[in-house]
């Protein structure tokens, strides 16, 4: 009986303590709380950790890093932390619509303000990279380290084997699809149920160029005709046999593997895809071709810089943390650090030479970005999340003709608030 009493008291105490454990406030003055998306399986996680370890001796404060791979749940946690005043001191996060509300609430410090006290802050970042960071209020808050690019990856050995023309323009792209459609090779690896995002972006860009691609329509009259033309291409291509039969239900990892294993000839994807491609020598990267009659520049690509290091207002206003936060971001955005971040998944944000162990496809992508006559940001950086997702989820229906494109665009406009 006595034992039971003691046990119950221990249980009740532990429950009560766990209540108190949840009542901690975010971060002590003696520690610098940092958050990034270079955690878990991110290809830069190892390099980030190495830079972090090196920094620990240089910064007076103890660094408490809470990095994780990014997904919608992670973003929700970050936003919830900001909403409850539990934000970190430094964060590597997205720009544009993702931080619109946080900027309105003055949660970050602008680079202009930081440079008043630390004039050399982020001076190594190229003007081009910084231009992508500019927010709607005309100020910049985040320091980029690597950019991204989207393009048409091809298995060149399959093109040679089947005598298919390389997809340098629209005619050869279509011709190649026709040739592969007659074989057991899937012409374009795609999953409409999971990640049709890059195909949507590139088909609309291919149909109307950067000016049409760059609009964020609020009324149906503002929707460019090229959007309709780009979306119509989903059905045209599907009817041609450009995609696998299970395109409406299969998933991105499966289609990605199909390309990597040489079972698909082409895939439209981003710079994050490059590092995982095993056949780096036989895989080539091309700008997505412009449709016939389109004003899209042949070398134009979708890409840019959409993530960067922010210093939060909370850390800046704390005299103990201000300098440490600046030191942290400066180290993470140094030329050496940028070279490490860029080598696995994107174009460097500083004018530097890439590391010798940078993957071949990343090097191709960086070259593609350097040669690009224009680099346009993705549509989802302008459209509201709800509008963009309504478009994404309609692609299966558009491609099999069960959804009218006019209805899809009307829904998109109604949700683009």
């Amino acid at each position: 009986m006595k034992f039971k009493k003691i046990l119950s008291i221990i249980l009740v105490l532990s429950l009560s303590l766990s209540i108190l454990a949840g009542c901690t406030t975010g971060g002590k003055s003696s520690e610098l709380r940092t958050v990034s998306m270079f955690g878990g399986t991110d290809p830069s996680a190892v390099d980030y950790k190495a830079i972090l370890d090196g920094l620990k001796d240089q910064i007076n404060l103890k660094i408490k890093d809470e990095s994780s791979t990014t997904n919608e749940e992670w973003k929700a946690k970050i936003l919830a932390d900001f909403a409850s005043g539990n934000e970190p001191d430094v964060i590597f996060y997205f720009t544009g619509s993702e931080v619109e509300d946080l900027l309105k609430e003055n949660k970050f410090v602008s680079i202009e303000e930081i440079r008043e006290e630390f004039p050399n802050y982020a001076q190594n970042i190229t003007k081009n990279a910084m231009s992508f960071m500019e927010e709607t209020d005309g100020k910049t808050y985040a320091i980029p380290v690597r950019g991204f690019f989207e393009g048409l990856y091809i298995n060149e050995d399959l093109f040679e084997k089947h005598n298919a023309p390389l997809p340098t323009d629209w005619e050869s792209f279509i011709k190649a699809i026709e040739i592969f459609a007659k074989t057991d090779i899937t012409p374009i690896a795609a999953s409409f149920a999971d990640v049709p995002h890059y195909l949507i972006e590139n088909l609309i860009y291919s149909a109307g160029g950067s000016s049409d691609h760059g609009v964020s329509p609020k009324t149906i009259q503002e929707v460019p005709d090229s959007w309709k033309k780009g979306l119509e291409m989903f059905k045209t291509l599907r009817d041609m046999g450009a995609f696998s039969k299970d395109v409406a239900a299969t998933q991105d990892p499966i289609t990605g593997n199909s390309f990597k294993e040489g079972k698909s000839a082409m895939v439209v994807d981003g710079s994050w895809f490059a590092g995982g491609v095993p056949n780096q020598k036989t895989t080539k990267l091309y700008p997505f071709p412009a449709m016939n009659g389109s004003i899209k520049s042949p070398t134009g690509i979708i890409g840019g810089f959409s993530t960067g290091f922010y210093i939060t207002r909370k850390a800046w206003d704390n005299a103990d943390k201000r300098e440490a936060a600046v030191q942290f971001v400066t180290a993470m955005t140094s030329n050496e650090a940028i070279a490490k971040f860029a080598k696995v998944a994107g174009a460097p944000a500083a004018d530097i030479k890439l590391d010798s162990d940078t993957s071949i496809l990343i090097q191709q992508g960086v070259e593609l970005s350097n040669k690009a006559s224009e680099i346009v940001m993705p549509m989802d950086s302008r459209l509201s999340k709800e509008a963009w997702n309504s478009l994404v989820s309609s692609i299966s229906g558009v491609s099999d003709g069960s959804k009218k494109i006019d209805d899809v665009l009307s829904e998109l406009v109604s949700k683009n608030k």
Partner: protein, 289 residues
């Protein structure tokens, strides 16, 4: 009365009540509140007052109709097949003398495997190119089948969901069977009742309360089913036709960032769960033996 003072009892109850309040009741009432305000994005503050707008949208939204139809179908199929098969298996295992433990473990096993692993496994079964089912068909010289087509996708998703939870109800029903006194069967045997008569006139009536619990659990479970369908066919693939109420709520909240509408769907799931449980309670009244 173990404790002379009630204060001590309250002190012991408080932590549990606190957790239930913080993690269940407060979020539930906040969820109702959220459904009346515009909330665009997770962790965004409630904006404009929408009134009943989300509830009106609920009646007009074609995807919620699909999700409701699929969930109701899932409900019927889980009651018939999940509870039905579990009942048959439980009766059979209860009747054997040797190897009962083996079957108990085998049938319960799918429950302990994570839904993510099962979902990925079935993805590999259903894959059109190189999937296990199509490889088997290929070995017999047959053409590959598009398992997740518009016509078959729903069935292909329901099969693993039903399969995974059979073991759960099997264990509940088997425990119920073990609680039936053996002297009832012995008396019945003396009166000449064997085989089917034994099952229909003794086992099933004495097990009716347990079956009722299983039916209620399967109803509420099918309304909030999420993990397996989402992994096998994310975003209601293909063409949004395989959405269930649980997956559609997740889609609206996390994919679209339409938190207010997601809250409305969540409330609808709770209301439907209560309504259906009450209906079952009415039709299958608790019996005292």
């Amino acid at each position: 009365m173990i404790y002379k003072s009630r204060k001590i009892a309250f002190a012991f109850i408080f932590p549990a009540v606190f957790f239930v309040l913080v993690f269940l009741y407060i979020p539930f009432f906040l969820n109702i509140f959220n459904s009346f305000f515009e909330i665009k994005g997770l962790a965004a503050k409630p904006g404009e007052f929408l009134g009943l707008s989300n509830y009106i949208t609920l009646f007009k939204d074609p995807l919620i109709k699909t999700a409701l139809y699929n969930s109701l179908l899932m409900m019927v199929l889980t009651i018939v097949f999940q509870v039905g098969i579990a009942l048959i298996l439980a009766i059979l295992v209860d009747a054997i003398k040797k190897g009962a433990n083996f079957f108990r473990t085998v049938f319960f096993f799918p429950i302990i495997i994570s839904a993510t692993a099962i979902g990925l496994m079935f993805n590999l079964f259903y894959a059109f190119n190189g999937g296990m089912l199509n490889q088997i068909l290929g070995a017999f010289g047959l053409d590959p089948v598009l398992w997740l087509s518009k016509e078959t996708a729903l069935t292909m998703i329901i099969i693993p969901v039903v399969w995974q939870y059979i073991g759960f109800y099997f264990v509940i029903l088997l425990t119920g069977l073990n609680n039936i006194p053996t002297d009832v069967y012995e008396s019945a045997a003396i009166d000449g009742a064997t085989g089917f008569k034994r099952v229909f006139y003794i086992t099933l009536p004495l097990l009716s309360n347990v079956i009722k619990v299983c039916v209620i659990l399967s109803i509420t479970g099918s309304l909030k089913v999420f993990d397996l369908p989402w992994i096998i066919a994310p975003n209601g693939a293909p063409n949004g036709i395989t959405h269930f109420t649980g997956t559609y709520m997740y889609y609206a909240t996390f994919r679209e960032g339409n938190v207010d509408y997601g809250s409305t769907i969540a409330l609808m799931i709770v209301v439907l769960g209560i309504v259906f449980s009450q209906i079952v309670n009415k039709f299958l009244k608790q019996k005292e033996y």
